[in-house]
Symmetry: C2
DNA sequence: TTGTAAGCGTTATCAC
DNA sequence: GTGATAACGCTTACAA
């Protein structure tokens, strides 16, 4: 009993094709018939069947959002909620829908991408994370399927459109900031080492330390997961050092939360005993105790630009879209102290 | 140059309909031809067009996930990531895809739901939040479109399938716990008062207080938002009281984070100066400083059951699905103290 | 400016 | 068991 374009056509005394043209607001239809047809559409409470449309059209007006495997702790990172906010802001405006693609592990994510792409459920894909040797990227590239990456690509950086921050520069800035505050022994804690963000921020950190003649021991660089256990692992490793560093660069707010909490458990307080500088400035950063000094990477804009990019890629397949670097900004809150003040408190 | 069922049919020397039957693994096809056809499908690297399928089939094998308006601070609540994990766990297994439905404000969400439902993009809907006077619920009910609600419905509780915790009981348990610890002046901080969770947990709190002959002033019941400003508003209101309560029931971990952090800003420390008992036990609870005593409401299972429910509703429209209450459990961590110990610390 | 008719890639119905 | 063939609901040449 679904009402179709034919019903509308009949009642409006026009051909189905005319109705179709009214739907897509074709300029070749007179205002008069447009009005007439629209009136009937309203009367009949007609709404186009999007599947039929997609089939005839070869366009779905939807885009696939690929998230990390749901079993990863990172899945719950508020980062994703915020990128998605950015994506929807633009895609809703452009009347694109979003398909949610994930799986419990990497393999399942790959399969779901595969099914979605080959089933022609979406016109393009936004990859919400970037890691090394990602089969999905290879797959999409090979099939020449439009996609954009949030984060920097591992390979083929010239051929892949991405939206990212200049994480290398951000890490340099942050490290310099700590050095300016008098810190000399600085540790680094990042998420999985296969993630491109981790890699890039680490490089920025290392280079800056070296440029300033400061050494970093291997044990002072730690990769861990976004859980309390992850925080504990990092803290334990740091406490095994003969002396605690005076500051840490942490690549993610969630990680920072865990570290601060576990430190507290050991009676080590941030920033009195050790300073932390964090990244992302997700909503957590300002809710934390103490509030985090963190690099605001404009997560929302990252998502917004990604959507913009993929949609224009879809709509003008030839207009070569270029990658985008979204600006960042250090937000100083309460987790960093000058080295000298830090000493004072202790004595 | 897409390869279709016809190409497969030709190469396998069978009719298109046979190929179709092989795809859906019809028992009426002999194993022999199945093998033959499958081999050709592999050779040609064939994959069915899901839109065509949906059209012919009148079934999309996808379900819509309705999130709160993206402009709400609640959008970033890790609660949603975790429910979604639960939903995908089941839906992937059943080979259902997920459509992501939201908008910047309520109106846009409604429109998006409308478009998705009438466009037949999904077979059913999961509403991820429950608030009073929700137009979406009315819309879906009127159109007899399959949906399930995560949370308790405001109206028509008999007619709507929902998946929820017994929030009333949980709030009672939690309040009793505080009373057992010797607390007499207990405040309540919740999210928006239009949310059903807030309402139910508040009732449990109030009833328990009353049953124990404890009074609650109007100013000790606060509704606020999931931001630092929200936390600040709550803390300010509490600090205006002639005396600070000795404990607070807070309906959400994110809210608790903010409150603890703002308290700290005023030199008031949790749990030394005031106890907090929280809800949801999202990943944040264990990462917080200090880690939150919180009611684990099994968010994952909430999502899993919702998916199970909607899918069986879709597949057997007559088998009346019943609502489900997911168990909860108080997880004691570090934000609560006995009233007497609390006094000791102070003196 | 509008109508006719042939797709879009499947599935479903009815034969055999 | 398998094959023709008509839907499914829309778009788009091509005609008029």
């Amino acid at each position: 009993m679904t009402i179709t374009i034919k019903d509308v056509a009949k009642l409006a005394n026009v051909a189905p094709s005319t109705v179709s043209r009214v739907i897509s607001n074709s300029p070749r239809i007179s205002e008069k018939t447009k009005r007439k047809v629209r009136k009937v559409m309203d009367e009949l409470n007609y709404h186009p069947n999007l599947n039929a449309r997609s089939l005839a059209n070869r366009s779905t007006k939807s885009i696939g959002l690929v998230l990390p495997p749901a079993l990863d702790a990172s899945f719950q990172n508020p980062f994703f909620a915020e990128v998605i906010r950015g994506v929807t802001a633009y895609s809703n405006q452009k009347e694109y829908s979003l398909y949610f693609i994930t799986g419990k592990n990497e393999e399942e994510v790959e399969q779901t991408v595969n099914k979605t792409v080959r089933g022609r459920r979406v016109d393009g894909i936004i990859l919400l994370y970037s890691k090394e040797n990602d089969n999905i990227i290879d797959y999409l590239s090979e099939h020449n399927f439009p996609f954009v990456l949030v984060g920097k690509p591992y390979h083929y950086i010239e051929d892949i459109t991405y939206v990212d921050n200049d994480n290398y520069a951000a890490a340099r800035e942050v490290t310099n900031y700590l050095i300016d505050q008098g810190h000399k022994r600085i540790a680094f804690v990042g998420g999985e080492s296969s993630l491109l963000v981790t890699k890039n921020r680490l490089r920025g950190f290392q280079d800056t330390m070296q440029l300033n003649g400061l050494s970093v021991k291997e044990e002072e660089i730690i990769f861990t997961s976004f859980t309390r256990d992850g925080g504990r692992k990092a803290v334990n490793q740091l406490m095994e050092l003969t002396e605690l560093p005076s500051a840490i660069v942490v690549t993610d707010d969630v990680l920072s939360l865990g570290i601060i909490s576990v430190f507290q458990e050991h009676g080590i307080s941030v920033p009195k005993d050790i300073s932390i500088i964090s990244f992302n400035n997700a909503i957590l950063a300002e809710l934390a105790n103490p509030p985090l000094t963190s690099v605001d990477i404009n997560i929302f804009q990252l998502g917004y630009e990604a959507a913009k990019n993929i949609i224009s890629k879809i709509e003008e397949p030839d207009g070569s879209e270029k990658s985008i670097l979204v600006p960042y900004k250090l937000i100083v809150r309460d987790t960093c102290m000058k080295k000298e003040d830090l000493e004072l408190v202790k004595s």
